[in-house]
Amino acid sequence: MLPPRFREDHLGDLQEGYQRRATADVPGARRWYVRQVLRSLPGAVLLRYRSWHHHPTGTRMDTAVQDMRYGLRALWKSPGFALVSILTLALAIGVNTSIFSLISAVVFADLPMRDPDSVALIRGTNAELAIDQGSVSPGDYMDLVVRSRSFASLAALTEAQWVLTGGEAPERVEGIQASAGLSETWQLPPVIGRGFAEGEDRWGAPSVAMLTYGYWQERYGGRTDVLGETLRLDDVEHTIIGVTDPRLEFGSLRDAKVVVPLILNYGEPNRSVRYLTVTGRLAESATHAAATAEVRRIGEDLAQEHPVEDTGWGLWSAPVRESLIDDNGDTLMLFLQLTVTMVILIACANVANMLLARATSRAREMAVRSALGASRGRVVRQLLTESLMISVAATTIGVATAYGLNRALIWISAGQEPVFLMAELDGRVLSFTLVVCLLAPIAFGLFPALRASGAGPEAALRDGRSGDGGLRGKRARSTLVTAQVALALTLMVVAALLTRSVANLSARPLGFDPSGILTLRVDLPESTDATPEDQRSFFARARDAVKEAVGARSVALVDALAAADVGRRRSFVIEGREVVEGRAQPAGFVVTASTDYFDFLGLAVEEGRGFAQSDDDASFPVAVVSRSIADRYWPDRDPVGDRIQVSGREDWLQVVGVVGDVRSEADTDQGALNIYRPLTQEARGGMYLLARTGIDAGAAAGPLRQAIHGVDPNQPVDRIRTMRRALYETGASTYALLSLFVTFAVFALLMAAIGIYGVMAYSVSQRRNEIGVRMALGAEVRRVRWMIVVQGVRLVVVGVGLGLVAAFALSRLLGSLVFGISTSDPLTFVGAPAVLIAVALIANVIPARRATLMDPARTLRAD
């Protein structure tokens, strides 16, 4: 504790005092000694503090400035080393912070509820359809509420949209329909006013609404007298009764503006439409395991009781935090974590390697310094200052990188992935990374510093010629490089597998030509008094207006964009065919389209006919099915002429034709399983208008809005974009994730190359003498180069071997994410090592060349 100036004196005094007392009373003397030591602490701290401030030989600050000046000079003299270490660390910090922000956004998310650990998310599952995060049907939910005992309260909600009128312009507002139990289950009492009372979620109750906190602030400026005012949603007056807790605006509920009661109890509860998100708060005595078992049993019972709708479907309950991401997401997150850890390891290995090499090569410089009287502390401090300067520079660049990467991810994912939006740079993660990255180089710098200063100056000076850090140092560096190569290869294989999967996915035929198609969405208010006639006539007029506004050759209408959206998922029964017990019913996606839709997209009518104007309310209901669904459910015959009954409908639909496939939005090589219905028979409130035009989306937006408002000033227009953009947004979050992996892989490859280069260049510089002698004795240039290259290649080959084993093991886990190739895809497993070895060779040949270009006479004379 004491500064060195007083340490010896003090110890001497203590010893003397102890001796004096010990002659009379040994235990007493011991007690005295201990007491003295303890009581010395404050004085020692004071002395130490003071000697920091008044250093007898110049002030502290002077030495620090001097250290920094030396440090700068040293780094300036080896710009390669400085640049590479700073960039390596900076990238590591940037990537690390950005990814861990993503992970922590999911893992430590502030869920919109109090005590989220005792809240479970209840999901619908269907093994046959590979759905494990499905929603729950109203019928099943209502039975669950009656039958379950594990939950103190249950709540269901679904996202909804309304058109809000009564303001200056009609406004589309997003919101939530929630059952009355929501505030109890999530334990989020309203900020002002009250939540939904029992009975307000019944059919026929007066219409009430709550505002979300954000909307209350934004539109009402946080006025408390807003209670009792009314909101006109889809032409129905809703009385405002309260404002929700700000935490509710979470994840996909981020933009919610209003919350209205979810009304489920009209008519026979529907079981075939699954759209409810169900959460439950565990009862006092219940556990998650018990709740899961109970919910599962109820699901099995329901499947027995309602075979038509529920066969194949089950219910599952899990802690809400675990349910934030699906199983594929879990795998991805695991991979991201692994990857980031690897990247960090590689980066650290590189910096450690360089610092080690540098420290050993500077052993001589340090020895000279200590021989000239620099204390050991001074030399160590000098080396540490250099490490710290690297850290600080790297941290600055790294934080900027993290920020940029975060923005880039949000941009690439086009706002389609809530996880990316949640992952604002996390302060906790950032500070953690900063601490680690400030400390890491110091730790790596300290080890070589201590080693360099530990050796006596005499030894280092005498042995100045070899200064190799000995066999041990060499082996340590070789091990680091081998590990780097192995890690880099593993990453490259994973990235290549994912890239090829995504390439395969986007190479699937679209089934139509998306170029020159402009899309926009209009959702009519679901007002009670709009008849199908009204809706149809609105869209007929809108179509003409759009056609005129952008000079389109043709305009078609559809309620789900091909290859970007899915239609309404429905199971159906084929007339005359047995419903097989215990097997899921046929299912497809119902898409409503205008008569000319197939022509518009250029989908060929392969069997029967397309829609005709004569398919109207007066004629029998018809459907056209896609090639894939025909092949799947009518494998050995032509479906034209058969009749199907789609769940939720009483009438039978006559299949009149089969059209060509459009690509499925899901990750499958099958075409979309579509059942098309003509708009003339099935009016919809929300439709896309598709226009073939040369005008781009930006220029068309204004005229399009005006055109729609010309038809009806009360209709909001949404999502004006090109078909290509719509397709991109469908895959955007995949692209974002993919670009992350590719970034990592390229980064890892670069790092490994730098590592190999560093080690080889260093080893060559240490062997200058040997090479000089060989050359002087007449060795062929080629053979000398070969000797050096072989040495480097040995490291790479061992690394590649280890990496292949690791990559092979890891790729098993990728299973569900890989599409169109096997997880042990030969091209990947040969290509990635080939690229790596090629890069490694280049990193190897440069120092080898340099070695043989040296003039042997000069290298020999130099020593």
């Binding site: 007083f6 004196d9 003090h10 003397e16 005092g17 001796q19 004085g43 020692a44 002395l47 003071r50």
Partner: protein, 111 residues
């Protein structure tokens, strides 16, 4: 000197002990002297801390002596009072004396 020109009580005691010990004032002997004469037993490190400060103020000077076997072969650091130190002691005593003049305090008397 920090805090004006006057010495603190502990500083005065230390300087007086150093003065009394003449050529034999080092850490342990100063502690001994303070214990025996003044009845306080400070930690050796606080003695060093205070003397270090006085040395910076130019009131004492320290020299390193020869190692002795009873100290485990460690050297003693001897302190010697400088004229400035003697001056400061005298001035402190004069100031205190002036303040005491005419006072007759009885700590045991009830107010």
């Amino acid at each position: 000197m920090p805090r004006g020109d006057f010495l603190g009580e502990f500083e005065q005691m230390l300087l007086l002990a150093v003065a009394r010990l003449r050529d034999d004032a080092y850490g342990m002997s100063i502690v001994q002297e303070l214990t025996e004469t003044a009845g306080i037993e400070p930690a050796v490190a606080s003695v060093y801390a205070a003397l270090d400060r006085l040395e910076r103020g130019g009131l004492v000077v320290s020299t390193v002596g020869q190692p002795t076997p009873e100290r485990g072969g460690r050297a003693k650091r001897y302190f010697r009072l400088l004229p400035a130190g003697a001056h400061a002691l005298v001035r402190s005593r004069a100031a205190l004396g002036a303040l005491w003049r005419g006072l007759d305090l009885d700590p045991d008397a009830r107010a």
